[in-house]
């Protein structure tokens, strides 16, 4: 008895397809359309051709935001590529009490990003714990402007991202390390390879595909950084808005009753393009290496 019709697969896929169309495809298309308009939340807008993209060329804030986002990505990528791997190698060992350390390193991941960033704000402010302690111990005479100096602020946010991301990527690496052959390690050890040599010649090649995954994840999330910078700068983007990320700039233009949705959408398209670029590059590099 044949009960299956041609539309049966579509019926089964239907809810997921509708979900994708409504919540993914439609907003994405809408963003592309709005990028060529001067739309506001109320009253729509009119098509303005490439005007929003021309505005980008004269936007100082965009230059700062792009530089910040790219620096963020360039610093976070190596740190979050190798530190969690090293940590995973250390925590992979079956030692008494190792579960405690695994849990401790993972705890920042489950903590709310906003709460964590607020705690860091208290730690890093002029009268905060870090400056206070450094002054008490005689390392500093004046507090360091962690929250009011452009680059210190950016690197404070990067430190926060790295600290919070360590546990997450560590877990990914831990599962990947389980697949690295122990025999290879033993063979390398027999051949006289030390721990560092074994790390580079056995462990790293063994988790190369996972490293690619981590690279893509870190790149995308670093280019789209928002919460850390937003909370540490109290939403201002740092002194003169010069520590804004691209997402903060998009948020600045799209907020409120009279948000500039057209320009914000054009910026979103730019973000999309610069996010896709490094991802394609990484995939290409991986294919070559393979």
């Amino acid at each position: 008895m044949k009960t299956q019709r041609w539309f049966t697969p579509w019926l089964l896929l239907g809810p997921a397809v509708v979900w994708l169309l409504v919540f993914n495809l439609w907003p994405a298309i809408n963003t592309v359309v709005l990028a060529f308009t001067n739309a506001k939340p109320l009253g729509g807008g009119s098509f303005t051709g490439l005007a929003n993209f021309e505005r980008m060329l004269n936007d100082d804030q965009l230059v700062y935001a792009l530089v910040n986002s790219i620096v963020y990505m360039l610093v976070c990528l190596p740190l979050l590529l190798f530190l969690p791997l090293l940590l995973a190698v250390l925590l992979e060992k079956k030692l008494p009490g190792i579960t405690f350390f695994r849990t401790a390193f993972y705890t920042p991941v489950i903590a709310s990003a906003v709460v964590v960033a607020l705690i860091w704000t208290w730690l890093l402010e002029d009268r905060g714990l870090v400056n206070g302690l450094a002054q008490q111990l005689g390392f500093l005479t004046e507090p360091l402007p962690f929250l009011s100096g452009r680059w210190l602020l950016l690197f404070s946010a990067i430190s926060l991202t790295v600290w919070k991301g360590l546990g997450y990527y560590m877990i990914i690496y831990l599962s990947a390390l389980g697949n690295v052959s122990r025999q290879l390690h033993e063979a390398a050890a027999v051949d006289g390879a030390g721990p560092i040599r074994r790390f580079w010649s056995v462990t790293v090649p063994g988790v190369r595909t996972t490293m690619l995954l981590v690279s893509v994840l870190v790149t995308v999330s670093a280019l789209r950084v928002f919460t850390e910078l937003f909370v540490l700068t109290n939403g201002t983007g740092g002194p003169g808005g010069r520590t804004m990320s691209l997402v903060m700039l998009i948020q600045m233009y799209s907020r409120g009753f009279t948000g500039h949705l057209g320009y914000a959408s054009a910026l979103s398209l730019l973000l999309f393009v610069i996010t896709v670029g490094p991802m394609l590059l990484l995939l290409r590099l991986n294919r070559k290496a393979a």
């Binding site: 169309l21 308009t37 939340p41 804030q61 002194p239 009753f257 009279t258 500039h260 949705l261």
Partner: protein, 426 residues
């Protein structure tokens, strides 16, 4: 064939979505609306974060309205404090604004521009007679004819001083600064005598400070920002020099600090500004400080914060909607509201002589309240309602650069004016 059918259906859906997405038109017609008719039927009232603290008060007002106008039923919607603008925005975008909605002027402006709000000036010929001028003016917008809300409750800022810190570091509470220049002079004394542990100034200026100093912000027709004047440069330069001298905490550049009221509560700064009831709030967090605080009038033009009730132009029940908005904002109901919400003031002319507001009970709380109430006569909306979020952010950023000395005050103001005009016209 099947694949083509599915493809065609998907393409149609996408094209329909594209055609409709985000580009709907606005109803900006100036059609007269008929508000005559019997006050009866159901009418919706939307307030902003009044439940559960003020439920009894609001329910009392609603009950009295329904008793005054038999046959009416008020459906009261109270929205949470967070996300109110998004809620109103979605209601406006879907043309589902409640009949009467609590809207501050900056929320009302874009809705008025879209023709969504009733011109109260046309609907109620006693409006200008019964409500104070400044409050009514808050709901008049350049380029739009009409008044787009009944003023409800008002507030303003006064200065608060920590007398203990003033005395400890050589300042006289009877000679409080009355100009920003005097403020900077006293800030210098306080900083020197406290060895930098305490500040007097703890905030950077905003566009409100330019207005307060008498700088013309917007052209008369409301189509252009014009605040890059020598007077505005002088205001920024004053702060710039004070910052260079270390008279302000460094974190004011990013506002990444607790805010001057919080620093005041922690007794790290000796001056702050706040509403007329701020001493009561201070007492909650730092009871021993509250008794040491005194108030003085704002320096320059006092700020005016207005809340109002607007009526949806497309309401199905305009007579009842107008009657309800007027009822909630009438003298008696506003006076009663100000009693349950200390620190707010009524916007009706008849309340001007109410001793509840115009006289102090001799306490520092009473004095502050009296100063705030008397300041309202001269108070103005210091930040023009056409300044949107993006403009405000950009202004703060440029002012921050000027104060830190990275660019000159003139450069900051020129860039701010250029950007604000660009955003205004796009």
């Amino acid at each position: 064939m099947r694949t083509r059918l599915v493809g065609l259906a998907l393409s149609s859906a996408v094209l329909t979505a594209v055609a409709g997405c985000g580009l709907s038109g606005a109803d900006t017609s100036d059609d007269q609306v008929d508000i005559t008719g019997e006050v009866k039927g159901t009418v919706t009232l939307q307030t902003w974060a009044l439940k559960p603290k003020f439920t009894d008060y609001m329910q009392g007002v609603i009950d009295s309205f329904e008793a005054e106008y038999p046959g009416t039923t008020v459906k009261w919607l109270d929205q949470p404090g967070d996300g109110y603008s998004e809620k109103v925005l979605s209601q406006a975008a879907s043309n589902e604004l409640p009949d009467v909605t609590n809207l501050p002027p900056d929320f009302a402006l874009p809705l008025a521009k879209q023709g969504l709000l009733l011109d109260i000036d046309q609907a109620d010929d006693k409006l200008r007679e019964e409500y104070v001028e400044g409050a009514v003016a808050s709901y008049e917008f350049a380029g739009q004819t009409g008044v787009f809300g009944y003023p409800w409750y008002l507030n303003t800022d006064v200065n608060f001083w920590n007398t203990e810190l003033l005395a400890k570091y050589g300042l006289d509470e009877t000679k409080l600064p009355t100009t920003m220049e005097e403020m900077v002079d006293q800030a210098r004394i306080l900083k020197e005598k406290s060895d930098g542990a305490v500040h007097l100034l703890s905030r950077k200026p905003g566009i409100e400070d330019l207005n307060q100093a008498g700088v013309e912000l917007v052209s008369a027709d409301g189509t252009e920002f014009i605040f890059n004047t020598p007077e505005a440069v002088a205001v920024l330069d004053l702060y710039r020099e004070a910052f260079a001298e270390g008279l302000l905490p460094r974190n004011v550049l990013t506002d990444a600090y607790l805010g001057n009221m919080d620093l005041f509560k922690k007794e790290q700064v000796a001056w702050t500004t706040g509403g007329g009831n701020s001493i009561t709030d201070i007492a909650v967090d730092n009871p021993s400080l509250a008794e040491k605080v005194i108030a003085s009038p704002s320096i320059g033009t006092p700020s005016l914060y207005t809340q109002g009730l607007s009526v949806a132009k497309n309401s199905d029940n305009l007579p009842a909607a107008v009657a309800l908005a007027r009822w909630v904002t009438n003298t008696e109901n506003q006076a009663a509201f100000a009693e349950v919400v200390p620190g707010i003031f009524p916007s009706t002319v008849a309340s001007a002589e109410d001793p509840q507001f115009s006289q102090s009970d001799g306490t520092n709380v009473g004095d502050a309240k009296k100063i705030a109430f008397t300041s309202l006569a001269e108070a103005e909306l210091l930040k023009p309602v056409i300044v949107d979020q993006a403009m405000d952010d950009f202004l703060k950023q440029q002012f921050s650069l000027a104060i830190s000395g990275e660019i000159t005050s003139q450069q900051a103001l020129d860039k701010a004016v250029e950007k604000c005009n660009e955003l205004l016209n796009n």
